[in-house]
């Protein structure tokens, strides 16, 4: 077996693995990314790439707001704007009954000192999204939110990693993990990689990886379905979601409509594949056509699903392993991890390089999802 030594081994070449590796390499750590298939193979390229602070869980708001500042300067971080446009994210109240919930949320956020979520009336909504059905009564908006291009984002993070000296090894799935002195030895076929620090950024497979280190973390799965259509003339700038329905609707730079919203297909972890359930997806098409009646005749070009990890409380797992020395987790983003990519990498860098972070991550501790050992 040939063995190579590093300061940090990041397992998983999705966006969170790339971001962690990028920050670590810039902090002077010799970092390797071990990726089973290829960079961005699963959730990172299947994502709708929403860059959203709107309607976040309160525990995520501080890091999400910081991440948003990073997105507004993303070219300075990774050398490309990643196709990010800040045309706003809008959460629409279709009917009068949906409105009080938005009013309540806005008041709560204001009381907590946050100003990024704002109520807009039907007239402003129509000005921002003229193609939206006139029956909608109002919305909550985060004007600095938006969306990026997932493939450009992957490419930019990859290039930035390589420029910072990260070694990226694709086609490198792990067979076994062993403890050698103060190092971890990660085995992949005839190759071995040693490092005192390992970052678990294995996405949907992160629970299995954690188990190799002795961390039993309760983890579910998501296989969110997406639709992309043929290209259209400009129709919509902001990203639109709606109260009470599974819909996220936007138009890409290429003119295609990208429709998601979390409707679930079927996932198979062992086969590393997932599939679309069209009867379920029909609900998303129904929502799209109800909200945007002009798109009824638009042809669907493709649909797909991506696999990622989902936690019980839908918050990510970010933090040091309570059991395995030098193991750090960053996964379980439960369908809303894309926006957090730049900040999550910075947090991992804090934890590994500084031994702690000023950022508020208590709610993401892995311990909350681990079975409590019975007292002796």
């Amino acid at each position: 077996m040939s063995t190579a030594g590093f300061d940090v081994a990041v397992v998983g070449g999705g966006l969170h693995g790339l971001s962690a590796a990028l920050h670590l390499a810039r902090a002077g750590r010799r970092t390797v990314i071990l990726e089973r298939s290829w960079v961005g193979r699963h959730a990172s390229s299947a994502t709708a790439a929403g860059v959203r602070t709107l309607w976040r869980d309160l525990a995520e708001v501080p890091i999400s707001l910081e991440a948003m500042e990073m997105w507004h300067g993303i070219a300075g971080i990774v050398g490309d704007d990643c196709g990010f446009h800040a045309d706003g994210q809008i959460r629409v109240a279709e009917f009068d009954r949906d409105w009080p919930g938005l009013v309540e949320r806005e008041a709560r956020m204001r009381a907590l000192g946050y100003a990024h979520e704002e109520l807009i009336d039907a007239a402003e909504l129509r000005r921002l999204a003229p193609a939206l059905s006139p029956h909608c009564v109002g919305a909550l908006i985060a004007r600095r939110d938006g969306a990026a291009d997932p493939h450009r984002t992957i490419a930019a993070f990859r290039r930035a990693c390589e420029a910072a000296g990260v070694t990226i090894i694709e086609g490198c799935g792990l067979d076994a993990v062993e403890r050698h002195g103060s190092d971890w030895l990660l085995r992949s076929g005839t190759r071995g990689f040693t490092a005192p620090v390992v970052v678990n950024a294995a996405g949907a497979w992160a629970g299995k990886l954690a188990a190799l280190f002795g961390d039993e973390i309760e983890l579910g799965l998501k296989a969110s379905m997406m639709i992309v259509t043929e290209r259209l003339a400009p129709l919509l700038a902001p990203v639109v979601s709606v109260v009470g329905r599974a819909l996220s609707f936007k138009q890409s730079d290429q003119g295609t409509l990208v429709i998601g919203g979390g409707l679930q297909g079927a996932a198979d972890l062992d086969r590393q594949s997932s599939s679309v359930d069209f009867l379920n997806l029909a609900k998303g098409a129904r929502a799209a056509v109800d909200l945007f009646p002009v798109v009824g005749d638009v042809r669907i070009a493709r649909s797909w699903t991506g696999i990622e990890a989902k936690t019980r409380d839908l918050l990510p797992v970010i933090g040091a392993s309570p059991n395995a020395p030098g193991l750090f987790h960053v996964f379980g983003f439960s369908g809303h991890g894309f926006q957090l990519v730049p900040v999550a990498g910075a947090i991992l860098c804090d934890l590994i390089v500084e031994g702690g972070t000023q950022r508020q991550i208590a709610a993401f501790a892995p311990e909350r999802l681990m079975a409590k050992r019975a007292a002796a």
Binding site: W38, G40, S45, H151, I154, A155, E170, I227, V228, T229, E230, R245, Q254, I259, S275, V276, D277, F278, L279, L281, A282, K283, A285, R286, A287, A288, V289, D290, V295, G296, D297, V298, R299, I300, A301, R302, S303, W304
Partner: protein, 464 residues
């Protein structure tokens, strides 16, 4: 939602024969097809055209489709023309659209008889209006009696251009010239296969020679061994430049150019269903891996007809019958031994029908230039991605077609890579110096055919 034993996709020679066989053994059968009438490509519109003078001009092989269509109509299968099948989920649940309405059908077995498509041939100017395929022109001739007003240029290789030209001349069309792209030496390579080819009877070979002779008699100019072709024009085709292997070059005025470089099986539906496929090195395409009945690696999914590997109409019918019989064994209680007895003479005829293929495959093997377009040539028409874009990315690391799709958008459009898939495979293979069969094809993303948001929404039964 309706439930049936057997769903047959396609009402060409294979689909019709499969339906007749399965109905004879009592299966409930639904045949869906995107055309308005049975016949497939070869017998397109035969029910209405057969009795007209156009039918006579199209020839005896075409006319023979009429009795097949009659037998199919009488066999008792449900038949839904004008239907687009756009997804099959395991189990099997098929999603169809007809008259703007989507619906699902469940079936215990499926026969994919979706035929072949013309091999896409990217060359400079192939996307100009005025450039189309011989197959597309033949459809216009069969269905609408449409003959191009201006003399047409034909460029390519294979039996179809010969047949089309004969039909076009009979219909009063004019041919400006033929650019035969068959390379030097192909006949020599094919001759060793001739004795076996003769086992299938000399009929098809004689037919081919007769077509060639008819063209000669009509005084059609044939330029042989054309290796490079460029279509030029402002907004539409105005001229053609060509160069032959032995260095002859010319530029000629042209308004219509019909191209054809052979046909390849339609593999999107089998790929979407996870059926194993194998690389056919001679024809440079994938064919589904099938057993002696046409069943794929996925139990209950059959492929029959040219989709099972290019074999022509007669082989397609025979393969359809075999698949229909096996479906009857699986679902209708037909005894295996009885099926074998019935299959025996069919298999003998199939072997004879296919005996010609190695000769034709060798004679009309695609020329290498088909797969190595110049950098500026558009390869993915949907997303307008050039060969150069793909080549440049393919040389960075060892990305496969799916990664290149993400990097370049090639293959992301509504045609689902039907136009660019094989070209991209070859560019990757050449850039990375590995065998093309090892590169792999795009992952097929549903839907198989474009369905509208409104049609999909019509499947949602929950109230908002």
């Amino acid at each position: 939602m309706s439930e049936i034993d057997l769903l047959i996709v396609g009402a060409g020679p294979a689909g019709m024969a499969a339906a007749v066989a399965a109905r004879r053994h009592g299966l409930s059968v639904l045949v869906v097809d995107d055309q308005p009438a049975p016949g497939g490509q070869i017998w397109r519109a035969v029910e209405t055209v057969a009795a007209t003078p156009r039918g006579a001009r199209l020839g005896a092989a075409y006319l023979s489709g009429a009795e097949r269509a009659t037998a199919f109509r009488a066999c008792g299968a449900s038949y839904e023309p004008g239907s687009q099948l756009w997804q099959i989920e395991p189990g099997f649940r098929a999603f169809l659209t007809r008259d703007g309405k989507a619906r699902t059908v469940t079936a215990k077995a499926i026969i994919l008889a979706t035929g072949a498509q013309e091999r896409p041939v990217p060359f400079p100017g192939w996307t100009l209006p005025g450039v189309l395929t011989v197959g597309a022109a033949q459809i216009l001739l069969k269905t609408a009696d449409q003959v191009p007003e201006k003399p047409v240029w034909i460029a390519g290789s294979g039996p179809l251009p010969l047949l089309y030209m004969t039909q076009l001349l009979a219909a009063g069309g004019k041919i400006a010239g033929v650019l035969d792209t068959t390379p030097i030496g192909r006949l020599g390579a094919a001759l060793p296969h001739l004795p076996r080819a003769l086992l299938s009877g000399a009929g098809d070979l004689v037919k081919g020679l007769a077509w060639t002779w008819a063209l000669k008699r009509a005084g059609v100019a044939v330029i042989r061994h054309v290796s490079e072709l460029v279509a030029d024009g402002e907004g539409k085709l105005q001229s053609l430049r060509y160069r032959t292997e032995d260095g002859r070059e010319a530029t000629v005025p042209a308004e219509v150019l019909l191209v054809h470089e052979g046909v390849v099986p339609s593999i999107h539906a089998p790929l979407a269903l996870g059926c194993a496929v194998e690389w056919h090195p001679m024809q440079q395409c994938y064919v589904p891996t099938l057993d002696a009945w046409g069943e794929t690696s996925q139990a209950g999914v059959f492929v029959a007809g040219d989709g099972a590997g290019i074999g022509g109409a007669e082989a397609a019918e025979l393969r359809g019958s075999l698949a229909g019989l096996k479906a009857a064994v699986k679902l209708g209680g037909l005894a295996e031994t009885a099926a074998n007895d019935e299959a025996h003479p069919i298999r003998r005829r199939l072997a004879r029908a296919l005996a010609l293929r190695p000769f034709l495959d060798a004679l009309f093997a695609p020329r290498p230039q088909v797969f190595a377009p110049a950098d500026a040539t558009i390869v993915c028409r949907c997303e307008e991605v050039t060969a150069g874009d793909i080549r440049a990315r393919a040389a960075l690391g060892r990305p496969g077609p799916n990664q290149l799709k993400a990097f370049t958008r090639a293959g992301m459009g509504p045609c689902q890579g039907r136009q660019c898939g094989y070209t991209v495979m070859h560019i990757v293979a050449s850039a990375q110096q590995r065998p093309v069969g090892e590169v792999g094809f795009y992952r097929v993303r549903p839907p198989l055919k474009p369905v509208t948001l409104g049609e999909l929404a019509s499947l949602d039964e929950t109230a908002p």
